[in-house]
């Protein structure tokens, strides 16, 4: 498997227009606002198993325990959401599934950046939900 290590420095020239890049960056900014979680997005083709590649990429994120990686492979039409240890407590698999559903339905309509922004918004909203002290013991 070719690890997508060097990809982080490649400018987003072909995949998204400047307006679409701004849309995604703004969605990340909003999702991270007032929250403890950090969000990262990767859009690109994968050589091997997408889950393994997504986890490998998630491991490279600083402070990955609170990081959420949205990994999109448009070539194989696969979406992976990887959460760190802390992030997984806030964003359980049900929340991730809901966000993934919203994203994939927008993807299949041909709107990649809009789907990513929608998913980040949903994940951010779920991460911001009021903490119930007697239930959520973080």
């Amino acid at each position: 498997m070719t690890s997508p290590v060097a990809v982080g420095s490649v400018p987003a020239g072909e995949a998204f227009s400047p307006a679409q890049q701004e849309q995604i960056n703004r969605a990340i900014e909003i999702a991270e606002r007032e929250g403890e979680l950090r969000f990262a997005v990767y859009v690109g083709a994968t050589d091997g198993d997408t889950r393994v590649a997504a986890r490998a990429l998630h491991r490279q994120i600083p402070a990955r325990s609170r990081a959420v990686l949205v990994y999109v492979d448009p070539a194989r039409r696969v979406l992976e959401i990887v959460t760190g240890t802390e992030a997984g407590r806030v964003l359980d698999d049900r929340a991730c599934t809901l966000a993934a559903l919203a994203m994939t339905s927008t993807f299949s309509a041909g709107d990649l950046s809009g789907g990513i922004a929608d998913g980040l918004r949903l994940l951010g909203e779920y991460a911001h939900r009021p903490r119930v002290l007697h239930r959520d013991t973080l």
């Binding site: 986890r55 491991r59 559903l101 709107d111």
Partner: protein, 136 residues
């Protein structure tokens, strides 16, 4: 599928033919009507400009107007097209992947199957870290 295409072609040909026949009838009139003044005949160049140049120009203008939006928006993903764009990353800066031997805690057992398979921290794969996969 083939019969459907053939059907479409037939309908288009029939429509074009019938329209041409109906509209061309006045031109076949042998005698001029009383008081009609046909005027000078068009030169070949003027004929080409009017009957070819203007329709082609209008067609190109409409194509340009329709595609202007998507040209301005840039590359757009389509589910039925091959994706060959360069990979991009948003959000946090990624740091170079540390060697697995160095990052693995001393007590971590390499026999843990999933962690060994993905070559990294057992913490990510086993305890707490989660996530989902989806397709579209």
């Amino acid at each position: 599928m083939r019969s459907r295409t053939a059907h479409r072609a037939l309908v288009i040909a029939a429509t074009a033919g019938v329209t041409l026949l109906v509209t061309v009838t006045p031109a076949l009139a042998r005698e001029q009507d009383a008081g009609s003044d046909p005027g000078e005949s068009l030169s070949p160049l003027a004929t080409l400009l009017i009957f070819v140049g203007i329709p082609v120009g209008t067609f190109l203008l409409i194509v340009l107007l329709v595609s202007a939006g998507s040209i301005a928006r840039g590359t757009r993903y389509r589910p039925d097209r091959v994706w060959d764009a360069t990979a991009v990353e948003f959000g946090m800066p990624l740091q170079p992947a540390p060697a697995p031997e160095l990052t693995r805690p001393a007590g971590a057992d390499a026999s843990e199957p999933r962690a060994a398979a993905s070559g990294g921290h057992p913490e990510d794969d086993q305890s707490g870290g989660g996530g989902i996969s989806a397709r579209w």
